[in-house]
Assembly symmetry: C2
Homo-oligomer: 117 residues x 2
DNA sequence: CTCATTAGGTAGGAACGCTAGCTAACGCAC
DNA sequence: GTGCGTTAGCTAGCGTTCCTACCTAATGAG
């Protein structure tokens, strides 16, 4: 998969994954990998900056939690704005996918092709 | 539509459009707009540099042609490598779309959700 | 003549995800 | 207890990509 294919879609994927029950960076990474059938195996250098971005944008809130004795973990939840953005993101993904598929996978009978004049 | 959603997909869209019968920049722009139902209304500052990129990559060949008396036009055709890249691009688009849809549009019954441990 | 359309172009910048590195806790095998 | 794989988080800096904002020029309609 081309590396930059993700651009512009990662945010929605992250929101969906957090909404789906993965609440900290590492779990999100794993969930994305599993849910995508191994296609999205993203490095942590992609995940963590993106989560900060979402937090700065007010779409998620993160807080430090402690696991076991000492282990620190940053746990994220969607905000109301995040839920709205997720709904919007799903819808615009559908739009985008329809548009790309129309161009890319179009059956284009010769008679309907735009003619180079 | 988010602006950067295109990233990494434009090349395939352009190859498909050239293959579909639009052979110069302006016509490609129009064809993309029409074929996508108005969703891809790209500025020329996106199209022309992208076509140069494809030409540098050896996926299209461009040559200047003259229309009417004086009007110059740059006409593109797919190379063999371009046709290969288009096939590959269609296939990896399908992959990508399947993966994103799986994550984004998944019906995820509560019982199957990854639990935050 | 004027304006919209057709046609091509460039400079510069912002955004994004990746590469390549790092630290540290935990649990298990040896 | 030592070592290792996994879990967990983080950052600096880079390259690519597409967009914004401009520009020129020929053509054709009014």
């Amino acid at each position: 998969m081309k590396a930059e294919a993700l651009k512009g879609h990662l945010d929605s994927l992250l929101l969906a994954t957090v909404d789906g029950g993965a609440h900290h960076g590492y779990a999100i990474r794993e969930a994305l990998r599993v849910d995508s059938g191994g296609r999205f195996d993203l490095p942590s250098g992609t995940i963590y900056p993106a989560l900060y971005r979402l937090e700065r944008a007010g779409l998620v809130v993160g807080r430090w939690t402690t696991v076991g004795e000492r282990r620190q973990r940053r746990t994220y939840e969607l905000t109301a704005a995040g839920r709205t953005a997720l709904v919007e993101g799903r819808s615009s993904w559908r739009d985008f996918a329809v548009a790309v598929s129309a161009v890319l996978l179009a059956e284009r009978p010769a008679a309907l092709r735009p003619q180079a004049p």
